[in-house]
């Protein structure tokens, strides 16, 4: 009887342990809700961002390898072209191992992944990709301030990163600066996928003929931006708008997010 009880306890606790690991992640940081004015958005007004959890680090090669091993359909050899282009995981030697550079990049952000692959990875963890607004909101933070928009030094440093070529081997995910929320490498490591990367109207959107004409001209994209000074954000929005969901890029990775409500519900 006691033994049965013990087994029962064991079974239950294993499950709960697994649950606890999934829903109370030490690997995520809480981003307090607030408002901000997106570079491109509905007019030039502040939009609300609800509090959410964000991975402290971008997903690494080693983590993505574990995912691919468990989910063969995301292996290089198996993935459908509509979900990831031919360059998918090009920096790995095979679909099932990182290969010769493993020691150097195990702990570096995974790159050459498509939106579908990134999305599937996050869903597997019970998470999702952050929205553009969530990502941009969290990226406003410097080491000390939640919103460092008007911090010249911070802006200059960001600009410098974006103007540097990619190193041959990306540094580890811990190497970039830790921001106000405890999130690392929002700026300074890789570009990152977002859930609604395709929400910015940088293409000619013919909802009004007037703006359509405007958008026929070079530079029209910037003309509807709220803060033309923020070149760093402009680059990100422009980059996103050039993506397709099966594209993979040599400096584009991702991290996952989680809504606070979902998290509570799962507890």
């Amino acid at each position: 009887m006691a033994r049965q009880l013990f087994i029962l306890m064991l079974v239950l606790s294993t499950c709960h342990l697994a649950l606890a690991q999934k829903s109370a992640p030490a690997t995520m940081a809480r981003i307090k809700g607030g408002t901000f004015v997106p570079l491109y958005g509905a007019g030039k007004t502040a939009v609300p961002v609800k509090g959410f959890q964000l991975d402290k680090f971008p997903v690494t090669n080693a983590e993505f390898l574990a995912f691919v091993q468990q989910n063969p359909k995301w292996r290089k050899s198996e993935v459908k072209r509509i979900f990831a282009d031919a360059q998918y995981l090009r920096h790995w030697t095979t679909g099932q191992s990182i290969g010769t550079d493993a020691a150097k990049i195990n702990n570096s952000p995974v790159i050459n992944v498509s939106w579908f692959a990134a999305k599937a990875y996050c869903e597997c963890q019970g998470k999702r990709l952050p929205t553009v607004n969530e990502w941009e909101y969290a990226a406003l933070a410097s080491e000390t301030k939640a919103d460092a928009t008007n911090d010249e030094k911070f802006y200059q440093r960001s600009l410098e990163w974006y103007s540097q070529p990619n190193p041959e081997y990306l540094p580890s995910v811990q190497s970039s600066f830790r921001n106000y929320y405890g999130v690392y490498g929002m700026i300074g490591l890789v570009w990152e996928w977002t859930a609604d990367y395709n929400s910015t109207m940088l293409v000619s959107d013919a909802r009004t003929t007037e703006s359509n004409n405007q958008q026929q001209f070079c530079g029209a994209g910037a003309s509807s931006a709220t803060n033309v000074k923020n070149y760093v954000a402009f680059m990100r929005y422009a980059f996103r708008s050039s993506l397709k969901p099966n594209y993979t890029v040599g400096n584009l990775g991702f991290r996952c997010a989680q809504s606070i409500n979902t998290q509570l519900a799962k507890r």
């Binding site: 499950c15 958005g41 468990q70 979900f83 395709n198 910015t200």
Partner: protein
């Protein structure tokens, strides 16, 4: 003792259910690489395996204007014109419908079995199947030709991404979106995209005719 065993089973079942829920049906979504394979066996007689670039690799669940659940793969086998709209849209969407009707008229020599037109809502909250049906009736859309679809926001987002439709909600019920009419071949691959409103349909007509001739 018996009671306890029963209790043990119950507890086990419960705990496994909990585990499963926590497991998030890992990676069933978004792809359907696996589903593609299953389908290949189930409908092999008519169509065979889905090609790598087929949109129908999306395994998501959709609902049509008659409230019937359908998979995108159901659209397979005929050339499709696809557009994303929302029915409360005042300006662009009626023009998209008009553009599609221009195409429908130009391509009227093809039967509904050869050429389908599919409208997908960007606004699943308001565009219920009933509302889609009323919209179809109001625009005199022939149900043999036109399919109107809705689904979960996430599934709509995936399809929009694949169709290269950019869209965003503006918090006032408007959805800005790019106006694209996509031509899919019988396998569900993107062959041609007509962008903008009131665009000259000649290229799209040509794309459809070439596909029909190739059949």
């Amino acid at each position: 003792m018996k009671r306890f065993t029963y209790f043990l089973f119950l507890a086990l079942t419960l705990s496994f259910t909990a585990c499963e829920q926590a497991g998030h049906s890992c990676c069933v979504k978004p792809t359907a690489a696996a589903a593609g394979k299953t389908t290949a066996t189930t409908v092999a007689n008519t169509t065979g395996a889905l090609t790598d670039l087929s949109l129908y690799n999306l395994a998501s669940d959709w609902t049509n204007q008659d409230k019937q659940p359908i998979k995108l793969e159901k659209l397979r086998g005929k050339v499709q014109l696809v557009a994303m709209i929302y029915t409360s849209c005042g300006y662009a969407c009626p023009r998209t419908i008009a553009d599609l009707q221009v195409l429908e008229h130009a391509l009227r020599k093809y039967k509904p079995e050869e050429l389908g037109i599919t409208l997908v809502t960007l606004d699943p909250t308001r565009d219920t199947p009933a509302r889609l049906k009323a919209f179809a009736a109001a625009h005199h859309l022939d149900a043999r030709r036109w399919t109107l679809l809705t689904s979960q926001p996430d599934n709509i987002q995936e399809l929009a991404a694949l169709l290269n439709v950019k869209y965003t909600n503006d918090f006032e019920g408007n959805i800005s979106h790019s106006n694209v009419i996509t031509v899919l071949n019988t396998a569900g691959e993107i062959i041609y995209q007509q962008e903008g409103l009131g665009t000259n349909p000649a290229e799209t007509v040509k794309a459809v005719e070439q596909l029909q001739q190739a059949m």
